[in-house]
Symmetry: C2
Subunit: 483 residues, 2 copies
């Protein structure tokens, strides 16, 4: 898969030196990193799929300095790649010859207002820091993903991050009220609105959210907060099939409404992998179930009895033979133990050899069909394959991961990635789904995108790119083919 | 204000005849209206601020026919204006010489799925029909505005309509999952996704939502549904000030969370106007209060006691001297009677002579300050002026309407509109607010927009317009100056 790395862009070294000299004069020479040891951590990503290259890592300290840096690049025609916490899963943050602009020094929370329920955070603030600031004010910032300790708000916005609470609160897009953006020519757009309603022209902010830095660099955002929940109920349920899980989802949603904040599905193979490899994890349900659901309800109300609500729904589901067994956490510690079974799933898979991953979504009504049929087709293609289809069932978002057959050569297995892409993505397309539900396109999926995305949509994307970045300097070679 | 109508565009009559002939051959001659009597209802709007003109009203019957019509216009360089239910308040739907494309024949609900919680509706379906279809399936489509019986989904999307349930469910933008759009050159983009998560490139749909037809014509949409509420509590509260209302809002939101679906403020003058002029309205609270709040809570849960929840919050608010008096509806009929007091407000104002209207928003934390200070400044500018500041306080959205002094000449009063725009909009701008919270820009506010909108944002809007509609044929002269 390191063949995914494209040939690096070759920049004129004299021009680069001239521009870096001017940038150093503006933001300070110590914020222009050149040593190989300083560059190295910015050039590889978590999965090891790509090896990047860059002449320098630039570390501006404010939105104005980002604008200065980009203006210098634009004047000289030098391409640049913005990078946050470098936790992206599709290579969007890796430079291949372009200058790297790190947002890590933009790490201030500028404002938090508990009446407006807004927090204004700079791009380099980690997600965990925003969550923590919200908690200190009795509020909730609901975005929650595995990388939250190191990923940054700018990256979360640029990839429209999802996670386990999307069912109730939406993706990063739904959580952003306003943005501050440096455009590819160095202009600084202050769109830091904290308004709930504003119908004065085109919706500009949503162009930059999810654009993976190809239309400009997000430097700050106004994000929505929510009243902190006062009650929580967490249940682990054993079931015989994805269709039973979907039936339970419908039951819970009809009664709990907004109180249903999470609905995750896991297969037996995934749960057993966690229990086998991850120290301190505990089997919460005895017996043998083909699938497990982790459901979470929360409420801001003092007097709610969410556990009773879940119990009542489960009782109905038992009667309908949709549920085999269930446990409701009796304490925060038990709830945390249940969540660990789900959260450790990706890490645990590494112990089972090579893993081929798909991050797909289908309409919620089709998610059980998808899991069953995709599993059947993949197992038929490679006997001994171990399917781990898990994820955010309530959003129709499945991480359809494939662990290699026991004993197979890892590299040989990884070499079949394209075969499985075709099997899985063709099925996704036939169900009107998406080949990238929450990870984005980056470099990893840009060729794949041309196979499955509507042609007019691709033309529109190219027109927008040309309008906002006519020189093609912002994160070149990402998202769009030939750019 | 009829001076707001610009000089009509003059089209080459021979070219118009040629193109209309071709269009008639494609969509049927009876769907190309030419008679003055047929055109007339499409050329004036509810407030009578504009008088439009058009050579013909075209009534395609499908998205494909809309694409054919637009392609013919584009090939000949003829401009066109899309029109839905013609209920817009800023003149966006009125043609001034351009061809008019009516979406009213695209009136099918193509699909409704209670598991996906989606409805796929064509642009010409009325909002009321979508609400009704949702109800029949045990679901809720939450958008609710005064014009719901006649306004259409295409117009709701193109103006990003708001209304009384935005606090809980968001604007039309938040309610749309996917769109089908005819682009200004006649290409048909099928973006009718019903996915909750899809990170495959730029967010295109949000470009068209709120663009008022200047970037293309929306022909259908996938809209989000919600589980239908099973419980409802409606309260009318008398208070001494907007600041007391804001304090009550914070209290209610902290306890009720998502159950709080509406929080509307009205001044005494507004309520008294309704009681005086609107037959069948009933004074629900005795005594004399400077302001009134209409609060609504809903829940999908069987066992909720929302009235008890409201009572508990009101008891706390009484003790803190934030509330003067309150009544909670004991039946659906009483709740409807309370809502009539709010819903009849715009109509009742017509009986009090000329009315100068502003549709503004500010951050929620500033909404009480705004009402107080804007009232003070306007009353100081014109003694005897009667301020009616009402609306969606929970969203920071105030309809800041001014009724003329008793006995003043109506036309003379209306002539002072620009003065009040300056007073109100300058204050809005100083509070980082918006001069159009939910009605849009259209023709009415496009000059005003250039005074208050960020310059870089205006440049970005122009770049997007040029990229998607290089010939400037889609709803010319709307939203953007000089286009």
């Amino acid at each position: 898969m390191s063949s995914h790395s494209p040939q690096p862009i070759v920049l004129d070294p004299d021009k680069v030196e001239r521009v870096l000299g001017r940038i150093a004069a503006r933001i300070g020479a110590r914020h222009v990193l050149r040593a190989a040891g300083d560059l190295a951590p910015h050039l590889v990503e978590g999965r090891g799929l790509f090896q990047g290259a860059t002449p320098a890592v630039l570390r501006p300290g404010s939105a104005e300095e980002v604008a200065l840096v980009v203006a210098e690049c634009a004047a000289a025609g030098l391409p640049f790649v913005p990078q946050g916490g470098n936790t992206g899963l599709v290579g969007g943050q890796v430079p291949f010859g372009a200058l790297l602009i790190s947002l890590s020094r933009l790490d201030r929370i500028r404002d938090l207002d508990p009446t407006d329920l807004t927090v204004t955070a700079e791009a380099g603030v980690t997600l965990a820091k925003v969550q923590e600031a919200a908690r200190e004010h009795g509020c909730l910032f609901p975005l929650s993903i595995a990388a939250e300790g190191s990923c940054q708000i700018g990256g979360n916005l640029s990839t429209n991050a999802g996670g386990t609470a999307v069912l109730r609160y939406g993706n990063m897009r739904e959580l952003a009220l306003g943005l501050e953006v440096v455009l590819p020519d160095g202009r600084l757009w202050n769109g830091l609105s904290r308004l709930r309603k504003d119908n004065t022209g085109y919706d500009l902010k949503d162009l930059f959210i999810g654009a993976e830095g190809t239309l400009g660099i997000i430097t700050a955002a106004v994000l929505r907060l929510f009243p902190a929940p006062r009650q929580r109920a967490t249940a682990l349920v054993g079931l015989e099939s994805p269709h039973a899980a979907l039936a339970l989802f419908r039951r819970l949603r009809a009664v709990a409404g907004d109180a249903l904040t999470g609905f995750e599905i896991m297969p037996r193979f995934g749960l057993e992998t966690v229990l086998k490899h991850m120290p301190g994890t505990v089997r919460a349900l005895q017996g043998d179930h083909a699938f497990y659901v982790l459901a979470e309800l929360t409420s801001t109300r003092h007097e709610d009895d969410l556990a009773a609500m879940v119990l009542a729904v489960l009782a109905d589901a038992f009667e309908a033979a949709e549920v085999e067994d269930a446990v409701i956490a009796a304490s925060e510690a038990q709830a945390a133990a249940l969540w660990r079974l789900r959260e450790d799933l990706s890490d645990a898979q590494k112990f089972e050899g090579g893993s081929i991953k798909h991050d797909v979504s289908v309409p919620v009504s089709k998610v059980a069909d998808f899991i069953v049929e995709a599993t059947r087709r993949c197992e038929a293609h490679m006997p001994g394959l171990r399917v781990c289809a898990f994820g955010h069932m309530g959003d129709g978002n499945v991480h359809f991961n494939l662990s290699q057959p026991v004993g197979m050569d890892k590299a040989a297995f990884i070499d079949t990635w394209e075969d499985f892409n075709r099997i899985v993505h063709d099925l996704v397309a036939s169900l009107s789904g998406s080949i990238s539900a929450e990870h984005g396109i980056g470099l990893l999926k840009k060729e794949e995108l041309t196979l499955y995305k509507d042609k007019v949509a691709l033309e529109l994307m190219a027109a927008v790119k040309a309008a906002l970045d006519p020189k093609g300097l912002a994160n070149p070679g990402k998202v769009l083919l030939g750019r």
